[in-house]
Amino acid sequence: MTTLQAHLAYKMGERYGKHPDDGHYPGKLIIVEGIDGSGKSTQIDLLQKWLNSRNLVTVFTEWNSSPIVRRTTKRGKVEEMLTPMSFSLVHAADFANRVHAQILPALRAGAVVLADRYVYTAFARDSARGVDRDWLRRIYSFAVQPSLALYFRTPLDVSIQRINSGREELGYYESGQDMGFSNDREESFRIFQGRLLDEYDAMTEEFGMTVIDATQPIAVQQQLVRQYVDPLINGAMSGGNQSVPEALGQAGLSGRYITPPMRRRPTETEVSDL
């Protein structure tokens, strides 16, 4: 039996969220949620930098990124083949694979796992598409309860403005166009994201999420994030965080053949705000 199956068996027949005592793993799970343009990815990135600077082992995991399932999801999106239920199921498959291969092993080892979006994204999006709420909570019962769930609350106008002033164009499913709310992409986005905000608002209470006002300056939000995280990380696993450039430097090498793994980084202004 895999750790994931043991974990599911332990929570047998429960709805997600019934086991606040999940934390029998030595690691910590910290997740961020919010609608598109809420700034959550920037915040979790800054959090990871801080944890790494304290020499803690961090593992980053992102929604919809399982190497096994991702291609199917992508194909379904590009060819607009996904319907509310298949959208829901394929994302659950992706999530299960990441819990099995990434999240649980890291938590068992004692790392701090940082997740950009978690089950709440599925609950919000799928419910907004008419999928049964109770069913979603039952099929996701295998998910580990986070040590800290941060919800970055953003008014619709602010998130739309942020998206318009950066980032690539809105996707068909991101803007809920599969639901036929409106033929106009921006109007559809507004309606769909509005529904998501309602779903998130209801969930902050249901799951005891920590709400952060995401209209505040980035640095102010990050201070809050770090205050929430600080008490959790005593005794977390440390070491192993030497960066590749650092190792190259120590060996007196230039690193022509090594490209360190890239992730989106905050812009210069975001960093200098700190």
Partner: protein
Amino acid sequence: MDTIRFYGHTPPNVSGEETPGRLIVLEGTDGVGRSTQIAMLQEWLEAEGYAVTVTGFRRSELAASGINRAMRGNTLDALTLNLFYATDFWDRLEKNIVPALRTGMVALVDRYIFSIIARARVRGVPARWLNDVFEFAAIPDRVLYLDVDVEHLLPRVLAVRQLDHWESGEDFLRGPDLHDNFIRYQSALLDEFRSLAKEHDFTTIDARGSVSDIFQALQHEVREAVKGMA
């Protein structure tokens, strides 16, 4: 069926319109002879004047190629595979089976949710969670289960091909011997099928006999199931 019914909640996009068709499912383990029988049933039903659609496991436009690719790798756990199968199943239910039932066709399904559930249960996935996942499935008019014992199954499989990695449970059984793994795995799988047959009121057909004998038994059941359609 006159209107479609589900094991649990009614999922979006397939709600209870009139469905004059029939949903007939063939279940049974690997190599028991399902696809031969399905082909013969289709021939026969069409000759009798019924419009038929055939669909099976891992044949959805959305997920079939992804599952096949995933099964060639080695980090696929039972839960992920199960949800992947569920995606494949839903895609076919929504886009193929339900539309056929609406237009009054006979949908012949080669393996339904029960093969998926049996495989996951053998691998230790809790039955209750599996029932939760698949509660979005439509309840078939008939589930015809081809039952066989492993002694009859093994020669039948060997006559046509090699033993297969997944059909021998080698993703989770840890023995060096393919033959032993096949026996162990298929025996466990058959136990699960027989439990499911009781839980879900399958019509069990003895599949140890000849192709013609099995076909006759199936014909009898399907004739009953399509009664009143024409």
